[in-house]
């Protein structure tokens, strides 16, 4: 058998790969990080908010150096109908000071920065290099990767697959049982340029403070959700769309964004923004339902490649799950290499770490959330029902006396055609997930 060239090959320079390489290199291993783009993050897209607290241990006081656009100090959730909007708006100054909570950031900045830390730790970053296959030994164990470069084989004791959604490596290794279009959503995003002062004014924030808005009911007949985030001098507006629905309705995602941007509650926020960029990407959205096996002889799978993105319907957290799982994969790989056992058994430390931490705990907790949030009732019936209830509560119909809330709710529920039983059940699912 040919000797390995390196201890660990990490495939993919996204947040998962960078953290895996960083941790393995810091543990003293010989690590190569392979990225197909010209630099980490060059083509990577996402909505725009990261929750970096997992970095507290990896990069102490990361907030002093992280390439952040704005600190999220305001989070809103909007329910829209054609003409109405109900918004739950929360703001706190606490999230605008260390250790912070969420931040908006550009992926070409963020991923490049993280990978820089992996390099500083001694990992060798090789860009413009695509992995096109796994090298396996006669027992099926992974012993390296094949790249698109001439003489492009690289043998390693452990391969960590961090190649993102639809992971080619995990699939080639047979770790996914089945993949189904209904487990994915399509994320589509526009970046619009506006002067910083205009953004500050429209979103009522100052300095480096920013806003994160999630929107239900803005995607028309396609189930999904919308989002709107503030960067320093751009805003990100996008939608996340349920794939089978999208295909069935034969609607173009850009048309759905365009319509959302015309909504009376959204239009004033985005007006005059100059389109800088348009991008689209798949999101693994079914969580536990679709997760592959993450450990096999010689290989670990982390981040989106392992479907670890937490898509609680429209509240997407993927980067933090990617960073955390990458970090645990790096630790487990180091443990296995040092222990001289890189079989699935020797690499089990990874699975254990995932189970013991928020990575899988949050997934278990929010297991049913995506289904609920993207269900027809939540998508097409509840926004109108809620908006009508609120409208009637706040409407002053003198000389008519004010009606009781209970009556309004019952009337509006019946008007929307929602059965009481379903409403209670959805409420309970929601409470168990988010409560």
């Amino acid at each position: 058998m040919t000797a390995p060239d390196v201890d660990v090959v990490v495939v993919g320079g996204g947040p998962a790969g960078a953290c895996a390489a960083m941790v393995a290199a810091r543990a003293g291993l010989d690590v190569v990080l392979l990225e197909r783009g010209p630099f980490p993050g060059s083509k990577n897209m996402y909505g725009g908010v990261v929750y970096p607290r997992i970095l507290d241990t990896l990069i102490p006081e990361w907030w002093l150096e992280a390439p952040v656009q704005r600190w999220v100090t305001r989070r809103s959730t909007m329910l829209l109908t054609e003409t109405q909007a109900v918004t739950i708006d929360f703001r706190t100054e606490a999230w605008g000071a260390p250790p912070y909570n969420g931040a908006t950031a550009y992926r070409p900045d963020w991923d490049h920065w993280l990978a820089g830390h992996a390099q500083a730790a001694g990992a060798q970053l090789i860009t413009d290099t695509t992995v096109i296959g796994l090298i396996r030994d006669e027992h099926g164990a992974v012993v390296g990767v094949r790249t698109d470069r001439p003489d492009g084989d690289l043998r390693a004791r452990v391969v960590i697959a961090c190649d993102g959604v639809n992971s080619f490596l995990a699939k080639e290794a047979g770790l996914y049982e089945h993949t189904d279009a209904k487990h994915y959503t399509l994320g589509v995003k526009e970046t619009l340029a506006l002067p910083k002062e205009t953004i500050d004014e429209r979103f009522a924030v100052r300095d480096r403070h920013g806003v994160d808005i999630e929107i239900i009911g803005a995607t028309g007949s396609v189930n999904g959700g919308g989002f709107l985030y503030t960067n320093l001098d751009t805003i990100a507006v996008g939608v996340v769309l349920k794939l089978p629905k999208l295909a069935a309705q034969a609607q173009r995602p850009e048309a759905i964004i365009a319509k959302m941007k015309q909504h009376p509650a959204i239009a004033p926020l985005v007006q005059g923004g100059e389109l800088k960029e348009y991008s689209a990407h798949l999101i693994p959205e079914a969580g536990l339902t679709m997760m592959p096996k993450m450990v096999m002889d010689g290989m670990l799978v982390a981040g989106d490649a392992a479907a670890l993105c937490l898509a609680a319907g429209i509240w997407l957290e993927g980067v933090n799950f990617a960073m955390a799982s990458g970090m645990y994969a790096g630790e487990a790989a180091a443990e296995a290499v040092r222990g001289g056992d890189v079989t699935a058994n020797g690499l089990q430390g990874y699975q254990r770490r995932l189970s013991d931490t928020f990575v899988l705990k949050d997934h278990r907790k929010l297991h049913r959330a995506p289904e609920l949030v993207l269900s027809d009732r939540v998508q097409h019936l509840y926004p109108g029902m809620v908006a009508n209830v609120v409208e009637r509560m706040f409407r002053v119909d003198n000389p008519e006396p004010k009606p009781g809330l209970r009556r309004i709710v019952t009337q509006e529920r019946q008007r929307a055609g929602v059965r009481r039983r379903d409403l209670l059940r959805d409420g309970w699912t929601g409470f168990r997930s988010f409560g």
Binding site: V32, P38, F39, S42, P108, H112, Q124, I126, T129, T147, D148, R149, P150, D151, G152, D153, L154
Partner: protein, 264 residues
């Protein structure tokens, strides 16, 4: 040192100047490919050379990964004049037989460095070449002339050849070579004559006012109207029509005939 390739570390226009968006231009990549091919066919060695700060070593490592035998960085600022760059390079490669360059650098974009090197070395030059073939000890190069004409040159050493970006496609480096180049030590030398940072006032590009024929019109006021195009200054320049493709094609043909591009 028989074959030299001059590589400039540039960032792409419109992108921030940082390591992510910088590297070799397409033109310099073509130059490197020719240098490597020439080395293969003649058995000579290739030295990649750059004038720039430490960050510029990126292009030298890329060259080493692709097969260049040696690399040298001449310490210097990113914004030296073409003359200074050429002098610094020429002073270090006095025994070079062949010097390959890109036709223009993306930032300075003057295309003068190769000719200055040729002048310094008292060498032949073939600049802005759009096609080159290595013929034994010579290079046959096609150069653009005005009016779409071409000049076919036979170039013999010592010579400087600068090539356009689309003339050759740089080979892919092997994985092992990329890894080795990443940790290679790059010799750094200082320029023999001091280099000057080029000082310029910079403003965004605006086209210069062009000299146009005098406007028609009997009175000064009429001429002024014609010049300022007061009547035609509305938003769109012509008609916008919504047509089915078949009608669109017919409409195009009609317009081309009306404007005299097609016979009646």
């Amino acid at each position: 040192m028989s074959i030299v390739v001059c590589l400039k570390w540039v960032s792409h226009p419109g992108e921030p100047h940082d390591s992510r968006f910088s590297g070799m231009s397409h033109a310099d990549q073509s130059a490197l490919e020719f240098a490597l091919q020439q080395a293969e066919s003649t058995g000579a060695t290739v030295t990649a050379i750059t004038v720039g700060p430490p960050g510029a070593e990126k292009v030298l490592r890329d060259a080493l990964a692709c097969g260049a035998h040696h690399a040298v960085r001449i310490e210097g600022p990113t914004t030296t004049s073409g003359t200074d760059v050429a002098t610094a390079i020429a002073d270090h490669i006095t025994d070079a037989r062949w010097v390959w360059c890109g036709d223009y650098s993306l930032d300075r974009g003057a295309g003068s460095v190769p000719a200055f090197i040729a002048a310094h070395l008292n060498a032949q030059q073939a600049l802005g070449i759009i096609h080159a073939s290595i013929e034994g000890d010579a290079v046959h190069a096609t150069r653009r002339l005005d009016g779409g004409r071409r000049e076919l040159l036979e170039v013999t050493a010592p010579a400087v050849v600068s090539v356009e970006g689309a003339t050759a496609r740089l080979r892919r480096a092997t994985l092992a070579a990329v890894r080795a180049a990443a940790s290679a030590t790059i010799p750094v030398v200082s320029a023999t004559t001091p280099m000057h940072r080029a000082e310029f006032m910079v403003r965004p590009y605006r086209p210069r006012a062009r000299v146009l024929p005098a406007p028609e019109g009997a009175t000064a006021l009429e001429r002024l109207r014609v010049l300022t195009d007061a009547a035609a200054a509305s938003a769109a320049r012509g008609d916008t029509v919504r047509l089915e493709p078949a009608d669109a094609a017919a409409r195009i043909v009609r317009a081309l005939r009306e404007w005299g591009y097609l016979a009646h």
